[in-house]
Structure formats: C-alpha cells, structure tokens
Amino acid sequence: MKRYIQKSIWLLAVVFCFSATMLGQEQTVKGTVEASDGEPLPGVSIAIKGTTTGTITDIDGHFQLQAEPDDVLQFSFIGFKVKEVLVGQQTTLDIVLEETLVSLDEVVAIGYGRAKKSDLTSSITSVKGEEMKTMTVGNPVEALQGKAPGVQVVAGSGHPGATPKVLIRGFTSLNLSTDPLYVVDGVPMGNNLNFLNTNEIESMEVLKDASASAIYGSRASNGVVLITTKRGKEGKTTFSADLSYGFQVFDKPYDMANATEYAQIMNQSLQNAGLSERFPDPSSLGEGTDWWGEGVNKVSPQRSFSFQASGGSEKNRYAVSLNYYDQESFYNSGNWQKFTARLTSDWDFADWITAGVMLNPRREAWDDTPNWYQDYLLIDPVTPIYRPKEEQAGLNQYSIYQRSYYTYVWNPIARDARQFDEAGYYALAANVYADIKPIKDLVIRTQLSGDYKFEHDDDFEPDFVIDGAHEKNELNYVFREHKFDSYFNWTNTATYSLEKNGHNASIMGGATIEKWENRFLKGTKDGVPNNTDPLREIDAATENPEIEGNLSANSLESFLGRISYNYLNRYYLTATYRVDGSSKFLDNNKWASFPAASVAWRISDESFMDGVDFIDDLKIRAGWGRLGNQNLPSNVYNSGIGQDYYVFGAGEGSLVNTTYPSSMKNEDIKWETVEDINIGTDFTLFRSHVNGSVEYYQKKTRDMIFQLPYPNYSGYPDDAQIWSNVGSMKSEGVELALNYNNHNGRLKYDLGVTFTTVGVEATSLPDITPVVYGDNEYTRTEEGEVPGYFYGYKTDGLFQNQFEINSHANEHGVLLQSQAQPGDIRFVDVNGDGELNGDDRTKIGSPWPDFTGGLNIRLAYDHFDFTANIYASVGNELVNWLREDLYSTQSSDNNVVSGLLGEAWHGEGTSNDIPRVSHTDLNQNFARFSDYFVEDGSYMRLKNIQLGYSLPQNVLDRVGLTKCRLYVSGQNILTVTDFDGVDPEVAGDEVLNFGFSGWTYPVLPTYLIGANITF
C-alpha cells in the first residue's frame, strides 16, 4: 500500500515537478557479486522483485539490504544475464553473474512480422529506443545519425520543425523522391517522423537490402524504416517521466563590417569600378546599427516532457504516453510545438485470440519561423532601425521602420514584426488488430489502421509602406487554407510455423489494401479595413477574392508472402514475394511483382570451427531482391492542359487567352525498378565482447522515370513533356559496424563504430537527353559519372598583374579574359581551344561523400554514465554561395565581412583567393559558377555528449523511486571542418541539386539538462 501511495505522490510530483517523501526498511541480507572469472562486480543493481526497493554493489562487489524470506532478489548489470534468487533463510548470498551473448536472442521487427536477430538473412540494422532517447530532437530520425551504418542523415536545416534528409545506401533515383518508407507499427506513415517522440519508440529497424525490404514492394527502393512503439508489459504499473530543458545558441555566424568600415569598403569598391566615392567621411558614421544584436536573440529555449505509464496483467496489458516538445525561434516571431499521446491496450481474450488497439492523437502547431537571418547581416549598418520620430507621425505600426539607405534588403526587424502566419494540424492515427490461432502454430492476424489529419494555415499580411517604390504592401491580405488528409490500411496475414527434427519453417501469406486521399480548400482576399487582430478574417476583407481547392487520391492493393526456413539454426533460406497494383498506373503496367531471396550459413556452428574459441557466432549471408519506386504524381497517365496568352490574328493580331497541351499521357508508365544484391557477415567474438557486421551491397536501377521533351517535329510546344521510363544507374558500397563492450573494474564501456561507403554512377540516360543538368546547369549528370556533380569553371588563382592577364591568351594573342584586371579570377581554358566559354566547364566537385561514419561511446562508472556520439562525413565537396555574399560588392551595396579590404586582393601578392572589391564585375568573377565557390565539405560533428548521474538505491528507497537519473548534455556543440559556409550539413531538395549551401538555417548547438524518473 505504501508503494501505491508513493507512486501516487510521484505521479503528482511529476505533474507539478518534484517533491520527495520518506520510507521505512526490513531484515538484512548481505553478500558479494562477481563475474564468472572471479572478478568482483561493482555497481550491480539488486532489486526486490515487484518493488522499488534495492541497492547496488560497492567497489568490492559487496552489498547489503533489507528483505523478507519470500522476496526474490534480481541482480542485473549491463553485459550480464539477469539473475533472480529467492532469499529464503539465507542472510549471506555470493552471486556469480554470467556474461550475455550480445543480442543474439533479441527479436527485431521485419516486414509484416518479427524474427530473432540471430535468424536474419538480410541486412537490417536495429537501434533501440533507449539509445535514441539520449538525444532531445524534434525528429527521431536525427537520433539515427551515425548509429546505423548505411544510413546517411543530413539535417539540411536547423529550422524548428525541419525534416532531415535520409538516404539509405545512397540513392537509386534521379527524379523521384529518395526518401525511405517509414512504417510505424506496421502502418506506412509517409516521409516525416516529426510526429513521433523518441520516448515513444521501442526500437527502430532499418531494412537496407532488397531481401529485407522487398516485402514492401513498390515503395521500398529507398529502403524501409520500421518503427515499433512501446506497448504495455505484464507486471505492476510503472510510471516514468522524462524531462529536459535546454536552449540553442545562435552566435552571429560572420563578423560583418560596422558602419565606418562598410563605408570604407564601399568607397574602395566604387573607386575600383571607376565610380565616385559615396562616403566623404566614413569615420563619422561610427559603429552604426548592430542589426544582429537588435533583431536576433542569442539563445532560444526548448522543452521536452514525456510521461509514460505501462503495466498489466497476464490477460491485459496497457501503455500510455504523453509527450510534449516545443522549440522557440531566435526572433520575436516563430515557434514550433507538438503534443502527442499514444494509448495502447492488448487483451488475451482466450488462448486462441489476442487483440489490441492503439490510439495516437497528436497536435503540431507552429508560427512560421523567419528564414531570413542573413538579412540581419547583409543590410547596411548605416541605416537605423526606425524612421526619425518626426517621420513616424500618421504611419501605421508596420510603416515606422526605416528603409535601408543603401541596399535593397528589406528591414528585417520590420519583417519580423509583421509575421502572422500560424499553421498546424490535429491528427489521429488509430489501429486495431486481432491475432487468432485457430490451430496450433497458425496465427491469423488482421489489422485495420487509419490516419486522419486536419491541417490549417492562417496568414495575414498587413499593409505597410516603408519605401514607396520598393518596400511596401499597399493592400492588406488574408489567407486561410484547410487540408484534410486521410489514409486507410487493412492488412491480413496468416503465418504458419513448424519445428521438427531441427527443421524450422515459417510460411506467411497476406494481402493489404491502402488508400490515400488529400483534399484542400484555400481562399484569399485583400483589403481588410484595418490591421487589427479581430479583422484578420476573409469575411472582413473587401477585394479580390480568390479560391482554390482540389482532391487527389491514390490506392494500392497488394498480395505478399514469405517463406523462412532453417535447419539446426545453421542453414537459412528466406524468400519473399509481393505483388502491387497501383492506381497510379494504367492497365498495361498496373501490377508488378517484387521477389526476393536470401540465404545464410552459421559457420560457427560447424564442427570444423570447434577449436576456434574466440568466435562465439559467425554467420555469412547473401541476398537478392527487386524493388520499386512509385513516388511520382498521381496523375501522370493524364494529359495536361496549360494556359497562356498568345498573339493571334491578321496584322498585329490580338492577345488571346489560350490553352495548349502541356504534357501528354503515357499509358505505359510504370515503376522505377531497383535490383539489389547484398553480401554480408555478422559476427560475435571474444566471449561477446566484440560484435559487428561487414556488408557489400550493389543496387541497380532501371526504367528510371524522366520527364522528356517531345521532338520538334511532333508539333507539341517546347515545354510539353511526357513521363517516361528510361535510363539506369548503379550504387554500391561497403558497410561496417563494430562494437566492443567490456568492463575494467568499476568502469564499464561500450564502443561502437559505423562506416559506410557509397559509390553512385549513372549507367545510361535517355538518348534524347544524354546529359541531364540540374540547378541552372550547375550540376550535370552523364553516363559513367556520379550523378549531380558540380559543373563549372576551373580557376587558377587571381591575376596578380597585367603581365599575367596579357599572357593569359591563345597563341594568336586573343585574350581569354579581355575584361580582367589585376585582382580578378583567372579561369582555366580547360579544353585548350584558345577561348573561354561554356565548353570549358568541367567537373569541379561532387556532393557525395566518400564515406560516412559514426563513433558511439557509452561509459558507466558507479552511478555516473557518459554517452558521446560522433558523426563524420568525409570526401564530399560543397558549393558555398556565401563566398559571393560575404566577399563581393559587385552590383550590390549589401554589407560584407569585416576586414574584407585586407583579405581581398589589393595589390600584387596580397591574395590569391578573394578577388578585388569592385562594384562592377566585368570579368564575371562571381557570375561564372566556378571552383571558387567549391569547398571541401568534410566534417566531423559531436552530435551528442551527455553525462548522467543515477541516484543511489538507498536514496531512491527513501524517496520511493525505482530510478532517478539526472543529466546534462550538449548536442552539436563541436564541429570540425574546413568548410567556411554556415553549416557543412547541407542537403538539397533532390539528387540533382544536392550540396548547395547558402543561408541555410544551421544546425545549432543545444545545451540541455534533464531527468529520467521511474517509479
């Protein structure tokens, strides 16, 4: 009863934060705990089963606690099997703990089922929820970074609510999405896991090769991530709470010129361009306005709170979790918050039937976070924030700001003040299932799932006039959009298992139907009588009503099956087959099949390995499979009609509103198909102190989908295109995962390394477009090369004098850069034809790393624990567009970095990198895309470092807790890189524009304190 009271108190305490209470004690039992080699084990947890009472061993392995004769003591220690001992009449207990063989009996999720990790024949990486929750992140995928070999996670942006880019073993498509399929508790849930909290996750399995993921058929070509959420377990109700509070730090990324220096730089730049100086007395301007200091907060807080309760009886188990997370922006406007709840309940109604239900209501809301922090850096520092007092009279509150005197950068503080975009959604995911066992060894499972999401977006743009010609909105404007997305899934499977004479087999067959519907309605209107909050409604506006709305839907019907067989847990064979029928394709290709097969051989169980003692377990495996990618729009089999104005008629004709065929249907369009082979080995060595895997994979894509133009003779307009299956590509690489765990006295440690290489090559492209360009021809893809490589001019430093310019000519004296002046960039005549033109562009870098890797460290010493996760991406280049914004004054009066006059070329030998400052750029130093902008993008980042302290058992006993751990952590607090852009963790929307770094919202250092409490 006392314990229930304590639980209740703690329950209240968690809600209202912390308080404490005291408890009593019983009879004395003492003894020692040691390992099988006789070494005493300090820090072993000893608990009376079913209670929160317990203790831990001291430095010599001794322990002492109060217990009753019918109590059962549980001895647990990381790396050792849990041991239970009935106290009885014993007052002295000497316990020997046996070391565990790591993870071999662990059960992991596979598609439409679960399997022992030791029985896997394909490439699946499993990451436990406990490992992931060491990081406080908005999106759980971020916590995967560096922990799973073959998984490249690129944050791309530190913007609150941003979705990281995930590539599993590179990519297999140039034009379609490369996002993996996320399946939560058996239900595909799109490509964004923002709605999940790491505390809700039991485990995350990444299915990397086709033999693992082919069971998901036409959506599995980019890999599959299976997420299993926590469910209730038999036992008394346990409560736990995870709390963290932290803050992000946004230091000014570049030291920009103050007003005096700005004026000096501009004067020099104008002078170099042959123009008149603008500022007669720069020093009179002083420091000017510190825009960053005035408009950007140095820190932004974030909070995370999670509460779980679970337990149950033999017949009924339940779990509840409530999770809240919020993050503020660095501006006056902008924030992101999410609340999720998850309620699960499972019932064993009878021996032959088990059923369960899950409800997952969730809410996300955000005020649009400004994404123009660069404006605080680029606006001139001479301009004050506000207009002079006397000019403010009669202006509305959004017009009292000063327009930049010299730049066309809009006043960023004024922009921040008129941000009213609020958006969010309410959603409910739910599923029910029943497992029926009509006969022994046969399980029939039916699962019905749905996800319904209601999204809203409200925006208001007030009227303002900061500059009559340039910075204004004369008519205020109201916008509202509602979206409703629904998803429905019904999955039925039957699994029959057989074990006889060493033969173990399992046969699964099933069918699924899925349907997605997306509908939206949005309206806008102008001319609200004033800008006050109550009037920010469409009905209050008076002019220019516009409305849009549409519905799209697609569906998928699938049949699937799997046979798993092994003999003596030594020889394995697994085969899967899936048939998908998609509404996205017409009759010719509506159905497609996705077979896969894999084999494995546990060599360590063979008799010839008997003498090899250091190998505990060794398995080799190989797999093949076929996958699809159907991530193309729902209506590509339709022809499209475009609209434009053209001049028709005799004489000068007249302007006519016309329609024209903009795209043509392709009735033969079908999936992109990926064929994948995987060879690997899993091993456990040295009495389980070492385990890991090494794998080689190769993925070949054919029938890649391109939007091709029509030949001119077809008569279709230039921009009419047709979706077509043409082209192929290949990716291959090696993965390594290696873990080492051991203890040295009271120090326990667990070290893990992951390593992945990805080599990607376009093997064939359409005849009509043998070269594919991306992003203004800044990237190029051609046969035999890495897709999307940077394509531009090579440079050879700066011209130091006129001799060098005059010598940079062809053999007939024609200057290659006739407009160049000393201090300008020297571009290389790559093809040696004596001209500098577009034909001299060449490969100047690749955005794809040679390898990525992670180092994960876990240490424990007495009550202290320490975690560090390091992630590295090595060998890629990045385009740093800021090399123009920060160092160039051509055609721009934007502010630039402090010290530019000294850094930029200002005389022979002063610089061979940064060109002279000038308001003109006749040499096209910055207009030509060249390797001037390309930098080594390699980096190594300390993703997480955490130090925790668990309260000792005697203290816990006194306050009635099972566990209480306090921690401090830092995320992304150290990055080692030569890259000079804002952040080396750069992504892109798609393969063909990857690796371009501009003013992206960087991944910022976060400092947190937190507590994990169980009672």
Binding site: A469, N806, G813
Partner: protein, 480 residues
C-alpha cells in the same frame, strides 16, 4: 583534407615508382644538341596604330631541329608572353606567327619597341624588334544624310525633285564622297584630297520621273586613310504608302521632339486602306494621318474643309478629325477614295495584373510573385540603381480609369535602354514583359518578345513614357 592527403600520398608513391622504373629516360631531361640559330622573318618591322587598338605582329620562324618557343616582350605594355611550340615529343620546324595585342589606352605618343625572340630546342635564340607608332588613323569618317529620309514616299503628280543634304566629317582628313542612284543615272562625287577639309556640307537635287517607281540613293564616304562608310536611302514614288502614322500633335517640331512613338504607326489592312486603334486621352482629341514621320509635308491626310465627310491630302488645309469623347476609337481611312470612319469601343481583352499578395513569403516570391509593371534598363540618372535590375524596376503610374494605360515621367541621359517589366524583389524576371519591334525608334511594343530599346539621349531630358498594353503602343515625349 584527409582525401587530399591520401591523394598526395598515392601520387607521391606513383611518382617514385615511375622514377624508379623509368630513370634517366624521362623525356623532360632530354637535351638537344643544336648548332644553328633559328630564323625569324617578320612581316614588316613597323606598325602604325593608336591607343586602344589591336596590333598584329606577323612573321615566320623556322629551325632545322624545332622551335621551342617564341617570346614577345614589351615591359612598358606589360607583355612578356611565351608561346610554347615544340615539345620533346612533337617538334615544329616552321611556325607562322600571328599575334594580336591591344595597345594600352594610356600608351605614350611615341615609338614603342616590341621584342620578338625565337628559341630553338637547343635554347639558341634570335630576336627582332617591331617598332610601333601611335600615328594610325582608324576612325571612320562620319556620314550624316539628312535628306532624303529613308522610306520617303512621294506622290508622282509630276517630275519630283528630291533634295539631297549630307554633312560629312573626319577626325584627320576627308577623302572623297560619292552620291549615286542608278535608275535615274544620278552620279556625283567630290574629292577632298589636299584640301585639309575636316567637314563639308553637300547639297544637291535629283529629279525623279513622273511615274510610279522605287529608287535607291547610295552614299559612300572615305577618308584619306581609306576608312570608308556608306549608307543608302530608299525613296518611293507612289500613292500607296507602306506605312501610315497617326499624328495627334500639331507641328513638325512636335513630330520630331519625341524619343520615339510620335507619330503612332497604324495598321495597313489593304492597299490604300489603313486602320488605326487609338486612345483619346481627353475629349476633343484631334488627329491627322501622315506617311512620313518627321514632317506634315509633303503628305498629310485630314478632313476636307469643303466636305468634312471626306479626306484630303493637303498639309496646309487638311482639318483634324476630332474625337468627341475620351476613350478608345477605331478609325479607318481609304487613301484612294479619300473616305474614313470613326467608331468608339471599349476593349475587353486581357490586361496586366501584378501578383504580390505575400511580399514576405519566400516560396510565393520564388514561384508566383509578379510585381508592378515598370521600366527596367539603364540611362535614368534619377535612378542610379536601375542597371537592368528588376528589383529596382521604375514603377509605372497606372491610369486609375484605364487598366491598359501606364505612365512615367523621368529623366533620361546617355545610352538609354529599357523594356517594360514587372518588378521582382530578388531580381528575377517574371512574365509578362514587353519589348519593342526594333531597338532604335521603335514603332510598336511586343509582348514576351522583340528587342530592347537602345537609343542615345545626348542631353539629359525629362520625358513622359506612355504605354498602352491594349494598343501595343508606347511613346516617349519630352516634358516641357
């Protein structure tokens, strides 16, 4: 960095291996034994040029073994260029030198020496010097044909006198002027050699026969250094004009003071028949029609004072057609039968609308934003940032009563170039835009096509730009 280190290591090992296996056979160490000097023959040892002009040094170099390189050197002009010619694997024994070099703008008015040195594979060399003098004449003479204007159409009522007025000039010394028309065997020439004339006014009269025909007057002017320019003028004797213009001004001066657009080109619908679409900015607007653009003479069509239901071709007496109301009109004229019609109408075709509701929404600005229509180009001293920048577009004032009409009064000076383009805060180029049927003196605007205006305004002038997107017409007239 790591990759670079790895690459360096691999390169170093490869290089060491290559050295080990190839040893002294490395071609780079190969030495040549040559007993003779190379031979250099330049085409002339003197060049006459001027500052900023390209000179060409030509010649031929030969060597029995191979020419290694040719060096051109003149330190005061920052030239020290090696032209690499032969390699150990590829020997060139004869090389035609042809090397261009732009004389610096600040080169002194004196003789300059360019040293040309040829090296053979044995590193034996010979040098020659090209003397470069700054006394060349490369400036074309200036030929300004005032009369006849190009495209002049004259009615062949009788023999037609054609006035010829030409002004010629040259910076150093005029050579000769030829004026000819082959159909009427008109030929005249004047030589200025030995006269030291820098400018001359030529005047003459040619006579065309009293019949329909087309004539081509050719003008050829040369200076004493042989620089030549030529022009031609098409003159037509006909009653059916190719083009007809609507003039809503009263004087020849007003016809000529515009930058372009006055008078306004109208459409030809059939021989002798034209149709004008016109917007009367005020009630009572007066219009007449002229086939020439710079004068109401020799032809001007207006109302016959004796019979206002008909037209008359008479610059002195033709009365203007008066448009009673403000608004759009269709006016047809038949110059053969001297009839006309006037009808007002209200256009209902598409008109430009900006799309700029979300000025703070980057995604919207990127994909949908179309700012207000304005002038984008250069040559506007009041708008120094307007250097073909759409983010600094000079916004039109839109006629509050007429969605098709746009106005802007502003100064122009120097080389003036522009189009009509919607503003975009990021400097992008949203459609639609309007350009022109030709760069100089355009007569109509072209939606999503055409050329940029490119004209010269020698003296800063305040102009009013008027654009009518329904008529596809623009005019730029000075503001008093």
């Amino acid at each position: 960095m790591k990759r670079r280190l790895l690459s360096l290591t691999v390169l170093s090992v490869t290089f060491l291996c290559a050295l080990a296996f190839t040893g002294c056979d490395d071609d780079n160490d190969k030495s040549w034994s040559v007993d003779s000097d190379p031979v250099l023959e330049l085409e002339g040892s003197e060049l006459h040029t001027e500052q900023g002009r390209t000179i060409r040094i030509k010649g031929n170099a030969t060597d029995e073994v191979g020419i290694k390189k040719i060096n051109l050197n003149i330190d005061e002009w920052f030239l020290d260029r090696d032209i690499e010619i032969s390699t150990n694997d590829s020997l060139v024994t004869s090389y035609d030198l042809s090397y261009d070099f732009i004389v610096p703008e600040d080169a002194a008015d004196k003789g300059h020496s360019v040293k040309v040195t040829v090296y053979n594979m044995g590193d034996r060399s010979v040098s020659q010097v090209v003397e470069v003098f700054m006394d060349g004449d490369f400036t074309d003479p200036v030929l300004d044909v005032q009369n006849p204007v190009n495209g002049l159409t004259l009615a062949p009522d009788g023999e037609i006198p054609v006035d010829i007025n030409v002004t010629v000039s040259d910076s150093r010394q005029l050579g000769y002027l030829i004026v000819k028309e082959s159909n009427i065997s008109f030929y005249d020439s004047i030589s200025f050699m030995g006269t030291a004339n820098l400018q001359y006014e030529y005047q003459n009269v040619a006579t065309l026969p009293a019949s329909v025909g087309e004539y081509n007057f050719e003008f050829l002017l040369a200076d004493s250094a042989g620089n030549m320019v030529s022009q031609s003028r098409q003159v037509k004797a006909s009653f059916d004009f190719d083009k007809l213009y609507l003039a809503d001004v009263d004087t020849d001066a007003q016809l000529n003071s515009d930058l372009f657009g006055v008078p306004m080109l109208i459409s030809k619908t059939a021989p002798y028949n034209f149709e004008a679409k016109y917007y009367a900015e005020t009630a009572g607007a007066e219009i007449r029609f002229v086939p020439q653009t710079t004068s109401f003479a020799p032809h001007c069509y207006g109302l016959n004072p004796d019979d206002p239901t008909r037209l008359i071709n008479d610059p002195e007496n033709a009365m203007p057609i008066v448009l009673e109301e403000k608004g759009y009109y269709t006016i047809t004229v038949d110059l053969e039968n001297l009839t006309y019609s006037v009808e007002s109408y209200i256009p209902d075709d598409w008109y430009f609308e900006p799309k700029m509701e979300k000025p703070d929404d980057d995604a919207y600005i990127e994909s949908e934003y179309v700012g207000k229509l304005g002038l984008v180009g250069k040559g506007f001293p009041e708008y120094p940032d307007q250097e073909w920048a759409t983010w600094a577009s000079i916004e039109f004032e839109r006629d509050p009563e007429n969605n098709y009409r746009f106005y802007k009064t502003l100064d122009m000076e120097g080389t003036v170039e522009f189009i009509f383009q919607p503003e975009h805060p990021w400097g992008w180029w949203p459609e639609p835009f309007w350009r022109f049927d030709r760069a100089v003196d355009p007569e109509k605007t072209v939606l999503k096509g055409g050329d940029n205006v490119a004209m010269t305004v020698p003296v800063r002038t305040t102009y009013k730009v008027t654009f009518d997107s329904h008529l596809n017409r623009a005019k730029v007239v000075p503001v008093e």
